[in-house]
């Protein structure tokens, strides 16, 4: 997942959690980068029509930005679910964050063929736990 998609995903999750624009400081904390880096990238995303940025309030996704962000969040959910249910990684949220920049959406799509993801994904993503609310930490049971 490229850097722009990671930002869009973060803005989407923060907007949902806070029910309003994503503040620069909150995004910086979530992405573990400096506020200056956030401002620079948000400016680029605004130039591309993916984000609206209001000074002192924060960033909000445009309709096009929401579509991209939801795709990125789905990719992230696939990585988390794969780590938790197939590889049985206990710290799957932390590892998913480490790996998301190296895992492309085409790779995630292929991993998606062996996990049982719900059709309402990514609606069921819980920003607080940073994971799908339906995710059970257990070995996936293949459907018979």
């Amino acid at each position: 997942m490229n850097t722009a998609d990671q930002y869009l995903k973060a803005i989407y999750v923060v907007q949902r959690a806070e029910n309003g624009p994503a503040a620069t400081g909150t995004l910086a904390d979530r992405l573990e980068v400096s506020p200056a880096s956030v401002n620079e990238m948000v400016g680029k995303l605004a130039d591309r029509g993916l984000v609206d940025h209001e000074k002192y309030k924060g960033a909000s996704l445009t309709d096009e930005g929401i579509v991209r962000a939801r795709e990125a969040l789905q990719t992230y959910c696939i990585i988390e679910r794969f780590l938790a249910n197939v590889l049985e990684v206990e710290e799957f949220q932390a590892e998913a964050r480490e790996l998301e920049s190296v895992i492309d959406e085409t790779v995630a799509d292929r991993l998606d063929t062996i996990i049982d993801r719900r059709s309402d994904c990514p609606e069921c993503f819980d920003p607080e736990s940073d994971a799908c609310e339906h995710l059970d930490f257990c070995i996936e049971n293949p459907a018979n």
């Binding site: 850097t3 620079e40 480490e98 063929t113 062996i114």
Partner: protein, 166 residues
């Protein structure tokens, strides 16, 4: 502005190699399923080129898996049992199976392209890292580059068959 796209530890490297193994196992299991899912009549009609392609894909994936497992062993991490992934492919295959020969070829092309992209990104992430790994970096990259080249050839091979069928 940039978020790290590099491999920074043995644990992270081992995890990515495990994902590579799973991708190979998915290719191997799906190639087998594609063949088995055809009716007796369809199997008779099956073009020699496609049959050879599916057999070759399964053999090559098994061989790539072995090479990745050797790297994982050296990192003292565990591999992922083929039987486990085969069962997962089996469980979900009904919802994702291709409808015809062209669908099988497209699925195979998607597998080869996905594997190529994965190894290409992984090689880039290792090259972009100055971390010291528990295995020799040069031989790690040599192995991954070798597999990436074979995936690239796989993409070309499937594309040629698809073009011939047009």
């Amino acid at each position: 502005m940039s978020l790290a796209t590099r491999v920074g530890s043995d644990r992270q490297l081992a995890r990515l190699l495990q994902i590579g193994i799973v991708l190979e196992e998915v290719v191997e299991a799906r190639a087998y399923h594609h063949h088995q899912s055809l009716s007796a009549e369809e199997q008779t009609e099956l073009d020699d080129d496609i049959e050879h392609l599916l057999e070759h894909a399964a053999e090559e994936s098994a061989e790539h898996r072995q090479r990745l497992e050797e790297l994982i062993d050296d990192l003292e991490a565990e591999s992922v049992a083929f039987e486990e992934i085969e069962a997962l492919v089996d469980g979900q295959y009904g919802q994702t199976k291709p409808e015809d020969f062209d669908g099988i070829l497209y699925d195979q092309l998607h597998s080869e392209e996905t594997a190529y992209k994965f190894y290409d990104d992984l090689i880039g992430a290792i090259e972009g890292s100055d971390a010291e790994f528990g295995i020799d970096r040069d031989s790690l990259l040599e192995t991954l580059r070798g597999i990436r080249t074979e995936e690239e050839e796989g993409v070309r091979e499937v594309t040629e068959i698809m073009e011939e069928r047009e």
